[in-house]
């Protein structure tokens, strides 16, 4: 959505601004110098200045623009319409009733937004006016930042941040590099290295810089922070020289220069065209399932509102058919009214009824829900259990809109590396031609140096293998992008190695590389540094070997390998390549492939991450060819990535296999426990990883995603090679479905699949084959359906060899499947961003691979284990809270407005309001708003510890169970019932009787008649007390704040009423409420009837609750009862198992097997239960039972037949 919008905007701006922006590349004159005439005809372009405007409004457009934005919201718009109707026509309530709250909300919001915008203006100004140093005519001049233009050469000093996007020309460091931290851009605090243009890196004084005569051609700005292509043309002599520019040359605005004294750089993107500014677009809004049902209810209520108004309008004219009713002598119309046309009169009446009943749409609900979400998200951030001491991070909430969605998750898609695992790599072993080398890391607590620590497992290699061994170690020392840091206080780096006196660190964007280089060090080959494009290695004999680094063919996730081309000191040229086995083996022409492959597979099964290493000797001619290929691709402005990939493909071939490495990535703490809990909570966990199948599978076993008795179904390339995809799919689906007796699975299957223990493994290639739309054969078009069918029946799915985009594809596929399950994606790296954005709830781990995932997520947590509390506790709570909030809001407004509707039948459909204006206005705003807001913030129906201990409670709320239509209808009917009790209760007390205060002749104050306002006040008093008590009955967690707010708001109502009726308010033109409330309270029958009506209103709900609790308790209620029984110590002493299933006796008495799937006895799901029943009977052997289900298990056996006489819990697998 956001993306579409931005493209649209660019399109529009292109059309509006003019033709020059049509050019896809821009030409920048360094130092504003024109190129020598006749070189090439460049189109002169105009660029914006470097002014940053993050503010939304200006002084002039604030009011119209802000108003427009506010009234785009449904609630405000609705209020506005009602307000306008009240202004235009003669309506029962004064415009103040809706105008005042509207004005209040609008003003407060406008002030808040205005203030925020003012702050932004201030911040913009300070940024725009901050001084920058610009080189002009060989001198450094200070300029305001906003005056910076494209093409200016800028001097940036250490710890300054870059004023715009710059191309690095030269730096104070000899090698032309500089270090940068991009913490404010993407949150990564590690230092990154950027490179100056080779030809200008020597120019490091103002004078020299000023003498550069060059132009830069580059693409027009685009928001991707990590992509940039461009070309720099030098006009040294007559012939211009072109050099490629890439993202390694581009310094982004917002980043800060570190560890470098100064740099010179030229501005290429300024102001709002910088990548940082382009990235300030808001993400598309995700909406929760609760919000969707809320909107559905709203539509229902809108229909009710309209039909009420129509019914009353029609009734009015039917009733008025008798002219004496229409206009009795005591209530004559004015002349103008008489002349009005009947249609206009009817329409006005309709609108007046709409206004009268408009409060049934709980507009304040939106405000309350928003406040609840906003304030509620603080409890997530405040949670001490989700604080990680090691990282010093706490949970972060980026969107508070999805708090309740956390309680609805059905599918969890998790990344493996860094999410399930620590992403803390440790070198385990390497094998060269089948000979295994294991470093003895620690010996008596000391790191053993040198060759002594090398341990050869296999027989020692022959002389022939010697060469391979040497090459292998050098390959690993050279083929990487690791940098060496020598400073001691570099933040964000954990890998410290002590080397002699000075401390140096290896840093890299990939922890695998660091592990490998460190592993090599332990095996005696130490990578020292990269100096003057020579890599230095300290070999086992303590000699320094130097290799000239010629080219780096960088890693990407599509190729899954990287290479370097080096020249050894002896002048020989090598290409070293390292990558995933699947990426290397097809390109290998010789070497001991079989041995290495065997070892790789062995390691993968152990759960180790493996890489293969190969090399290719290059002749001088071959090298020239390579150079040509590369420079051609690098200089391309268009499709550079594609051309580079093609070039790499051509270069990385004819490899000779050297060996393989194995690195261990340990599982994160409590990862297995978390996954088990998620499973028990009824969620399906999918692991999506780019890793190879065996490694991933091993991790899955370790993290208890798969159990020993999980039947693994494979859908991999290996299988599809043997059989056609079609057959494999049908085979698998048959296997899976056989278990269910061919029964078609219904919509609840997502939930009830808990005892099927199937695990599916699928790889990326097969997946894309499954998802590929097949045109030729319409029958096979439903592969997708079959695949989904299989997945639905598997409790765990492992997808390996996935490209980042495929991850999002999978999430999308599941999201769109016919049950529309709620999905959650969790990951830590940039490759997880797409799936995090795609899923209903995206969770980022603040991991080692930067902050990109955390930044793009809805919630960020420090560790995977925190997911448990996030979902099982916070998600559960917020779902319970908000569903009560929504239902209660509709309920209390039905109670509020329905009596007013009924009153119309007794006042000649004249739109006479039942309640006073003040009551109408304040009912939702102050009398009944705070208790429910507080409830929705702190209610805890079950103890937090129990929720964590017993994940299956999560199933109680699955599938939006508290906002289903039956429950909604129950609440609405309850509201209607209460309204009827209140209205007719008061009616019969008033009707034709002398409803009076104390009739004794004691004072003059006797025998007063009560008028219509007393009638309304009586109903209203009962109403306020009833709805508040109803909430009190639903509250299970009474802290002092609850007491304060609930009793406080009742007291407030009474005090307000006393005050409102106690004074002749000078600003009112009517005094109809004067002393009404007091007179009412001075009457005994009024007290008696208030008590009676409150009791009568609450009675059925209480009875329903008690009976339901006894007859069909949910698991939640069982636990509540038990908790009560054990006086809150349940979590410590009692096994919860017995609570899940009712006893056998209970079963028989109820005469059905409904409680069979014990963790989720849902009253409304007889259908599902039947299905469950059948399944249980047919295939008991397939089920695995978690300890919590034992009791249910036992019941099943007794029920099943007399053969298993009284089989107990011990039958569980």
């Amino acid at each position: 959505m956001g993306m579409d919008f931005s493209t649209l905007r660019t399109l529009i701006s292109r059309y509006c601004v003019g033709e020059e922006n049509w050019v896809d590349s821009r030409t920048v004159y360094i130092g504003q110098r024109e190129p020598p005439p006749g070189t090439e005809a460049f189109i002169q372009q105009r660029f914006p200045d470097n002014r940053i405007t993050s503010s939304k409004y200006t002084f002039w457009n604030f009011i119209p623009k802000n108003m427009f934005e506010q009234f785009r919201r449904v609630a405000n718009f609705y209020f506005l319409i009602i307000f306008l109707v009240q202004l235009i026509i003669d309506t029962p309530t004064s415009p103040i009733t809706s105008g005042l709250p509207l004005f209040f909300v609008i003003t407060v919001t406008a002030i808040k937004q205005g203030y925020e915008d003012w702050l932004r203006h201030k911040a913009d100004n300070s940024v725009n006016q901050c001084p920058v140093h610009v080189v002009q005519h060989g001198k450094v001049v200070r300029k305001q930042s906003r005056k910076l233009r494209v093409g200016d050469v800028v001097l940036v000093k250490e710890d300054e941040s870059f004023p715009c996007d710059l191309i690095l020309l030269s730096s104070s460091r000899d090698d032309g590099t500089c270090f940068v931290t991009t913490a404010s851009l993407d949150g990564e605090s590690s230092h990154k290295t950027y490179y100056a243009v080779q030809d200008t890196k020597a120019y490091n004084t103002e004078k020299e810089i000023d003498s550069i005569h060059a132009t830069i051609e580059c693409e027009q700005p685009q928001p991707d922070l990590y992509k940039f292509v461009g070309r720099i043309n030098f006009y040294m002599d007559s012939e211009p020289v072109a050099r490629p520019l890439g993202s390694e040359n581009l310094l982004l605005r917002g980043a800060t220069l570190k560890n470098t004294e100064f740099i010179y750089a030229v501005a290429i993107y300024t102001g709002m065209e910088t990548k940082m500014a382009l990235n300030y677009q808001s993400k598309s809004q995700k909406r929760s399932a609760v919000e969707k049902s809320m909107n559905a209810y709203l539509v229902v209520y809108l229909c009710i509102l309209i039909s009420k108004a129509i019914v009353n309008t029609v009734m009015k004219y039917v009733w008025q058919a008798d002219p004496n009713r229409d206009e009795p002598w005591y209530n004559e119309r004015t002349e103008t009214e008489r002349q009005r046309h009947i249609v206009i009169r009817a329409f006005t009446d309709f609108l007046a009824f709409m206004v009268l009943f408009n409060y049934i749409i709980p507009v304040s609900m939106y405000v309350t829900v928003e406040m609840q979400k906003f304030l509620g998200s603080y409890f997530i951030m405040w949670d001490d259990e989700m604080f990680d001491e090691e990282l010093g991070e706490r949970a972060m909430v980026n969107t508070s809109d999805l708090n309740e969605e956390l309680g609805q998750v059905e599918y969890v898609f998790t990344d493996k590396t860094g999410t399930l695992t620590e992403n803390n790599m440790e070198f385990i072993e390497c094998c060269v031609d089948g000979h295994v080398y294991v470093p003895h890391v620690i010996c008596n607590g000391q790191v053993m140096p040198g060759a002594a620590s090398m341990d050869m497992i296999d027989t020692s290699p022959g002389p022939d293998a010697r060469e391979h061994e040497e090459l292998f170690f050098r390959a690993l020392c050279l083929c990487h992008t690791v940098q060496v840091k020598e400073e001691e206080t570099v933040d964000g780096i954990k890998h410290g190695i002590h080397q002699g006196k000075s401390t140096s660190f290896y840093i890299s964007s990939s922890p695998d590389e660091v592990a490998l280089v460190e592993g090599m060090k332990k095996l005696g080959f130490t990578y020292l540094r990269l100096k003057d494009s020579h890599m230095e290695i300290l070999n086992r004999e303590d000699e320094i070997e130097r290799f000239e680094l010629l080219e780096v063919l960088t890693f990407d996730s599509v190729r899954r390998r990287m290479s370097v081309i080096v020249r050894s000191s002896s002048g020989r040229l090598y290409l070293f390549c390292k990558g995933a086995d699947s990426a290397i083996f097809p390109r290998v022409i010789s070497g001991k492939v079989d041995q290495v492959r065997a070892r790789v597979e062995h390691n993968a099964v152990e759960g180790l991450r493996t890489l293969c290493v190969a090399y290719r000797p290059l002749s001088q001619e071959q090298y020239q060819e390579v150079c040509q290929l590369l420079s051609g691709a690098k200089l391309a402005l268009q499709d550079r990535d594609k051309r580079l990939a093609e070039a790499y493909d051509l270069i990385e071939k004819d490899l000779i296999l050297l060996g393989a490495t194995a690195v261990e990535d340990r599982l994160q703490e409590k990862a297995a426990d978390t996954i088990e809990s998620l499973h028990k909570a009824g969620m399906k966990v999918w692991v999506l990883t780019g890793d190879k199948m065996e490694t991933a599978a091993a991790t899955c076993y370790a993290s208890k995603l798969f159990h020993r008795n999980t039947q693994i179904l494979e859908l991999t390339t290996k299988r599809t090679e043997e059989q056609s995809l079609h057959d494999v799919l049908f085979d698998l689906s048959r296997t899976v479905l056989r278990q269910h007796g061919g029964m078609t699975r219904d919509t609840f299957s997502g939930l009830s699949g808990d005892c099927t223990d199937y695990g599916l493994i699928i790889d990326g290639a097969t997946l894309s084959a499954v998802l590929r739309p097949t045109h030729e054969d319409s029958n096979s078009g439903n592969y997708k359906e079959i695949f989904l069918e299989i997945c639905r029946n598997c409790s765990a799915v492992l997808c390996c060899r996935m490209a980042p985009l495929q991850k999002a594809q999978i999430v999308k596929l599941i999201k769109a499947s016919k049950e529309h399950p709620i999905t959650l994606a969790i990951g830590d790296g940039a490759n997880d961003v797409s799936m995090i954005l795609e899923a209903h709830v995206g969770i980022g781990i603040m991991g080692k691979e930067g902050r990109q995932a955390a930044r793009n997520s809805d919630y960020a947590i420090p560790k995977f284990k925190h997911l448990k509390k996030m979902l099982l506790v916070h998600g559960h709570y917020y779902y319970i809270r908000i569903s009560e909030l929504v239902q209660y809001f509709f309920y209390k407004n039905v109670c509020f407005i329905f009596p007013q509707f009924l009153y119309q039948f007794f006042c000649g459909f004249s739109q006479q309001p039942l309640y006073d204006t003040a009551y109408l206005t304040l009912y939702n705003i102050s009398f009944t708003s705070l208790p429910i807001l507080l409830y929705s913030l702190i209610e805890q129906h079950i103890n937090m510890d129990i929720l964590k201990k017993d994940p299956s409670l999560y199933r109680d709320i699955a599938k939006n169970s508290l906002l289903r239509w039956p429950i909604f209808i129950y609440w609405t009917l309850l509201g209607v019932y209460d309204a009827i009790v209140m209205f007719f209760g008061a009616y019969f007390l008033f009707d034709n009787t002398t409803f009076t205060s104390n009739g004794q002749l004691m004072t003059t104050n006797t025998q007063m008649m009560f008028g219509n306002w007393t009638f309304g006040t009586l109903v209203f008093t009962v109403l306020v007390f009833t709805v508040t008590f109803k909430l009190a009955l639903d509250t299970h967690y009474w802290t002092w704040i609850n007491h304060f707010v609930i009793w406080g708001s009742l007291i407030f109502f009474v005090v307000f009423s006393l005050l409102w009726g106690g004074i002749i308010w000078p600003f009112l033109n009517y005094q109809r409420m004067y002393y009404v409330f007091m007179q009412m309270l001075s009457s005994g029958p009024a007290w008696l009837s208030i008590i009676l009506l409150i009791a009568a209103s609450l009675l059925p709900d209480v009875v329903k609750k008690v009976i339901w609790r006894a007859l069909w308790p949910t698991t939640t209620e069982r636990i509540q009862n038990a908790d009560k029984l054990y006086k809150g110590h349940l979590s410590e002493f009692t096994p919860l198992a017995s609570l899940h299933a009712p006893s056998k006796a209970g079963h028989h008495r109820r005469g059905s097997g409904t409680q069979r799937n014990a963790p989720n006895p849902r009253r409304s799901e007889a259908f599902t239960k039947k299905i469950m029943f059948t399944r249980w009977q047919k295939t008991p052997d397939y089920c695995t039972f978690t300890p919590l289900l034992r009791f249910a298990d036992g019941t099943r056996h007794t029920k099943q037949g007399s053969a298993y006489n009284g089989a107990g819990p011990e039958t569980s697998v």
């Binding site: 004249s910 007063m1008 009676l1092 009976i1107």
Partner: protein, 339 residues
């Protein structure tokens, strides 16, 4: 070191509130609490209900319709709208002592004092004695804002205009002689209406305040002459006017007319024959309404109202029944679970 401090700075506050672990009372609507509760509430309600019902039973009410729809009715003659200044006599008898204090009401049916347009058709400012509003009444009073000569009507508006203007005199017939039952018309309106909300303009004599205004079209006499017998009962603080101005909630209503508390009738109306003299002015037949007078006495709980007592009895017994039902459910399904 810096790192450590950062860590502490970022650490969430560990308070009971932020960790959602405030001490709390966790009540449960379990059968064990609800059943005894229901029994207690039920018993209490039944008790109150019985008391209310018995009291209500002891209240005597006598209702006399005098609309004159039937030809036999003594007021039939008066129901013709063309007959002016009609007086009719309604005879009735009381069998046993009608215990005092006796309240005398008039009642109207099918009369919608709660029409919205009717209800707003008055000027509170005027009624609180503001002379400015005498000259220019509020627009809400239309069509009773100005008369045909464009003079302001005081008090303006439909409510005041349609004030009930039948008058009643009650006689006890003692051996053929008519003995007038004294009526007490003081304090029949709300104290606050009489003393605070409604005020006459502070002009003496009162009639001067009404200079340049006209009386409501329907009224026989201007506001300052509503009660010729008592100069303090005139203008906007006339008790009958105040009673009328407090709009009834429902279309069938009674309003207090007088109390019978004085003279020989302090103890109530003794058994015997009575005659009610009605000055029949108020037209109701046009909208199919009825007029009646009601004699009633009151108890500690107000006038006769059997509904409240019955409702209490019903709800009370429902509570008991429900508690029995719950007990059955509880006994049958709850206990086995705790095996």
């Amino acid at each position: 070191m810096v790192k450590k401090e950062q860590e502490i700075a970022n650490r969430p506050d560990n308070t009971a509130f932020t960790q959602q672990r405030l001490p709390a009372w966790q009540p449960m609507l379990s059968a064990g609490i609800v059943i005894p509760g229901f029994v207690l509430i039920g018993l209490a309600f039944i008790g109150i209900g019985v008391a209310l019902f018995v009291t209500s039973r002891s209240i005597q009410v006598m209702e006399l319709d005098y609309t004159g729809v039937e030809q036999t009715s003594p007021c039939f003659r008066c129901s013709d709208p063309n007959v002016k200044n009609c007086v009719c006599l309604l005879d009735f008898s009381i069998d046993s002592l009608f215990k005092g204090p006796v309240f005398f009401y008039y009642g109207l049916t099918n009369y919608f004092q709660n029409y919205r347009r009717y209800g707003v058709s008055k000027d509170d400012d005027q009624l609180s004695g503001n002379l400015d509003s005498f000259i220019s009444p509020s627009d809400t009073c239309a069509p009773y804002e100005f008369d045909s000569n464009n003079k302001p009507i005081v008090p303006c508006g439909s409510v005041a205009n349609s004030m009930f203007n039948d008058t009643f005199k009650l006689y006890q017939i003692i051996s053929g002689a008519k003995n007038q039952v004294p009526f007490d018309g003081k304090g029949i309106a709300w104290w606050t209406d009489y003393n605070v909300k409604y005020r006459n303009p502070s002009v003496t004599p009162l009639r001067d305040a009404f200079n340049g205004t006209v009386k409501p079209l329907f009224w026989p006499r201007p506001a300052y002459e509503l009660d010729p017998s008592d100069p303090n009962n005139n203008g906007f603080i006339n008790q009958d006017f105040l009673v009328w101005m407090r709009r009834a909630a429902l279309p069938d209503f009674r309003k207090l007319y007088r109390r019978i508390t004085e003279g020989d009738y302090t103890q109530g109306l003794p058994a015997g024959n009575y005659s009610l003299e009605i000055a029949y002015n108020y037209p109701v037949l046009s909208f199919d309404g009825r007029k009646k007078v009601v004699l009633s006495n009151v108890s500690w709980m107000g006038g006769k109202n059997e509904f409240l007592g019955i409702a209490y009895l019903v709800i009370g017994s429902l509570c008991i029944v429900m508690s029995i039902v719950m007990l059955i459910v509880y006994a049958k399904f709850k206990f086995p679970e705790e095996e």
